[in-house]
Amino acid sequence: MKFDLVIVGVGGQGVILVSDIIGKSAVREGLSVRAAETHGMAQRGGSVENHLRIGRDFGPLVPRGSADVLLGLEPMEAARCLHLLSRDGIAIVNTKRVLPVSVSSGKLAYPDLDEFFEEAKRIFRKVLLLDATELAKKAGSILATNMVMLGVLTRYLPLKQETIIETIKESVPKKYLMVNLKAFELGKTVKTRSIQLSTSSKKLL
């Protein structure tokens, strides 16, 4: 079993937690795992890029154009890393924007990504867009957005769902467990479809 995954988002969104849960689950199932994380300067609200490879004994970094799934917790970060996805791969993208300071302070505009993802749909096997943050809110907290995304991702992971749920129970503090499991469940069962990202301000393509 070989599976290459790239998870991207913004520092503070819980990218590493998602990666850890998958990594630990894979080890539970007796598979080998390699992952690469961003620490230090790359945190503090900056772009976060996490690579995870199951069943491969090479380096931890997924070469360009070869990820089986790109999981984007934020649309602009997903766009930034889409070159890592294989043409046979699947992009799962949360449409809820997190504004970089350059945008929130009014200096730059957040790009309109609608056409970009429309184009992406023609290139890659599948591009799933969903408002995971809204679902997380339904589950009880927008902080559980990462768990919604993990829920969507499990459809494509070479791992048993029970193993992942076991690992979530181990990895998340008891206080937040119910919300996280609910978010995970919502992600697992949500019908994903193409939706509009948001009002445009600047055309890119």
Binding site: G40, G45, E77, H83, S102
Partner: protein, 607 residues
């Protein structure tokens, strides 16, 4: 019993040290090395060995020297540039040698993900003439860390384990010894031997030849280690790879399906006999390594005395870049070129978007006290003043125009003094964090006072070593293990150095801060302002949000508040609002010229 766990490369190195019998561990935090010591500190509580955060790498290194000379297995851990700080004892320890195993762990950072340069520590090992182990995977890093003590004791030499970001910050399933017994507490004892431990010139002259003579034996030992491996094929193309590049190479070979002979190098000095065996069989040899052409230069020397129909490719021929980290793609390209099977990458129609997206660099957190300090500094001294700075989260003050220089740990005060002596007439206001100040800022301040410099020094005291993950330091009054210890008072310390103008101010109180800067501006000499307020990330953990703010209707949309670049303020194109990131520091409310950002009173449902 052996168990498999999914852990960080740095944690694996800590387990390796534990299995190797570490008895004393020292270090100063620095990305990408910090988690090694953090794991060791945790393990030290269980297994009863000694572990500390030292005040800087030189001090850490010398402590480890003491422990080794006392007969204990010692390790010292740092990032690559930390070894520059510790280079003085490092170079001479190679001469004196060690007693208890001495393992130096250095984490290099190809591509400078979190560093000011991308120097190659293998050069340092070669410079000092000590053996260096260069792991290609997390599992290997763990095994090398464990073995390094044995190697050190066998040859009485310090041993370097050189990690890189993609080892240290990689995660992998790793085999760990599950039931290690806590160590019985034995004591070290120093054996007096001035001819060995007192490096007067006569000792140096005697020990230098000894160091050189050791090399052959060390080479002999290293070449037989399992981390050097030659896989021969009938192909006339050979590849030699070291560190993580070895795995990139294997993946590239797997992809391109080119038959090659492959030599994996995991030790320095490299295995000469294996290199010669490969060179003997091949007509073309490609050397793949990150950072400097250390291995390549070695191979070229080996080839000099050999056959003529041999071509060597690598960094020196431009086939492998000398800057930045490598990747499978870079190796594919180089291997394709050397083997004459050009590998063409599919063009990516979506590639161009990358250049059009607004960047998302790391920023000072919402509620970060540094933001307030930088704001006040700039308000009082203006954008024309010169702002030397230092290494820490506050280097992000670059985005506020209050960081004009940053070169290495502790340099801000000395660079400021030097700028003053260069004849610079504008105000010079330098910033340095509390941990950095205690690391190497102190001698700079001492020198500035002694030599009558004319600068303002701002100590950004957030009560922790924030950037590397909130490690304690002497001014926190807490040890690595979380125990209470003597708490150094920065204000007393600065006064003891002879600084007359010292003020400690809470940066959340902007008026007081501005007043302190105004006063300082009127004086001459070395003036110190300590902007003291706990790191917002730590404050958020210990106390939930105390105050809530909102933008009221009197807002004139002047956007003054947005100038401080706080992620808790959002401009939607029409108006400013405060988002959920807000910690309630109230700095924006103090900046607002129309007093339109107001605290939400708890009883009323105004939000």
């Amino acid at each position: 019993m052996i168990k498999r766990e999914y852990i960080l490369g740095n944690e694996a190195i800590a387990y390796g040290l534990l299995e190797g019998g570490v008895e004393a561990a020292y270090g100063y935090p620095g990305t990408p090395s910090s988690e090694i010591m953090e794991k060791l500190i945790e393990l030290s509580l269980k297994y009863g060995f000694y572990a500390e955060w030292s005040v800087n790498e030189k001090v850490a290194f010398e402590n480890a020297v003491g422990s080794s000379w006392g007969g204990r297995r010692a390790t010292v851990i740092m990032k690559h540039v930390g070894l520059n700080v510790a280079a003085d004892p490092f170079m001479t320890l190679a001469y004196t040698g060690t007693r208890g195993g001495f393992v130096l762990i250095v984490a290099d950072d190809p591509s400078s993900h979190s560093s000011q340069n991308e120097q190659d520590s293998r050069r340092y090992a070669n410079f000092a003439r000590i053996p260096c182990l260069d792991p290609s995977s997390v599992q290997e890093a763990k095994e090398m860390a464990s073995y390094a003590f044995e190697l050190s004791e066998k040859f009485k030499t310090p041993v370097m384990l050189r990690s890189t970001t993609r080892i240290s910050h990689a995660k992998s399933d790793v085999e760990i010894e599950e039931d290690l017994k806590p160590k019985e507490n034995s004591l070290g004892e120093f054996e007096k031997d001035p001819s060995q431990w007192v490096m007067v010139p006569a000792s140096a002259r005697r020990l230098h030849p000894e160091l050189n003579e050791k090399q052959k034996k060390i080479e002999e030992e290293l070449k037989n280690l399992p981390w050097n491996r030659l896989e021969l094929s009938s192909s006339k193309i050979g590849v030699i790879a070291s560190g993580i590049s070895y795995l990139y190479t294997r993946e590239a070979i797997d992809f391109l399906k080119i038959p090659v002979s492959l030599l994996k190098v995991g030790t320095y000095p490299p295995p000469v006999s294996l290199i010669n065996e490969l060179l003997e069989r091949c007509e073309k040899v490609l050397i793949i390594e990150e950072l400097e052409p250390v291995l390549e230069e070695f191979v070229r020397i080996c080839a000099d005395s050999g056959k003529r129909n041999l071509r060597i490719f690598g960094k020196l021929t431009g086939h492998i870049p000398r800057e930045g980290e490598l990747s499978v793609d870079i190796v594919k390209k180089a291997l394709g070129k050397v083997s004459g099977r050009a590998f063409k990458r599919e063009s990516d129609p979506l590639e161009k978007i990358k250049e059009l997206l607004p960047p998302r660099p790391p920023t000072l957190c919402a509620g970060c006290p540094h933001r307030a300090t930088f704001y006040a500094m700039k308000k009082v001294f203006g954008k024309n003043a010169v702002y030397p700075s230092d290494i820490g989260c506050y280097t992000l003050g670059l985005q506020m125009g209050t960081v004009d220089t940053c070169i290495c740990m502790g340099a801000s005060i000395s660079v400021a003094s030097g700028l003053y002596r260069s004849g610079e007439k504008r105000n010079i206001v330098c910033t340095i964090g509390d941990s950095t100040f205690l690391h190497t800022g102190l001698p700079g301040l001492l020198n500035a006072v002694y030599n009558r410099s004319n600068i303002v020094v701002v100590i950004l005291d957030n009560g922790t070593t924030a950037m590397t993950g909130h490690q304690p330091h002497p001014a926190t009054g807490i040890t690595a293990q979380g125990r209470k210890t003597h708490q150094i008072c920065l204000e007393h310390l600065v006064k003891a150095y002879g600084v007359d103008y010292v003020r400690t101010v809470d940066p959340y109180k902007l008026d007081e801060l501005i007043q302190a800067f105004e006063e300082a501006k009127k004086c001459r000499g070395v003036r110190v302002i300590i902007a003291k307020r706990l790191c917002a990330l730590l404050a958020r953990k210990s106390t939930p949000k105390v105050k809530q703010f909102k933008v009221t209707e009197s807002c004139t949309r002047c956007k003054r508040c947005l100038e401080i670049g706080c992620p808790a303020l959002t401009w939607d194109g029409k108006k400013v609002s405060i988002n959920e990131e807000c910690l309630g520091c109230g700095v924006c409310a103090q900046i607002c010229p129309t007093n339109s950002i107001k605290e939400v009173e708890e009883d009323k449902d105004e939000v």
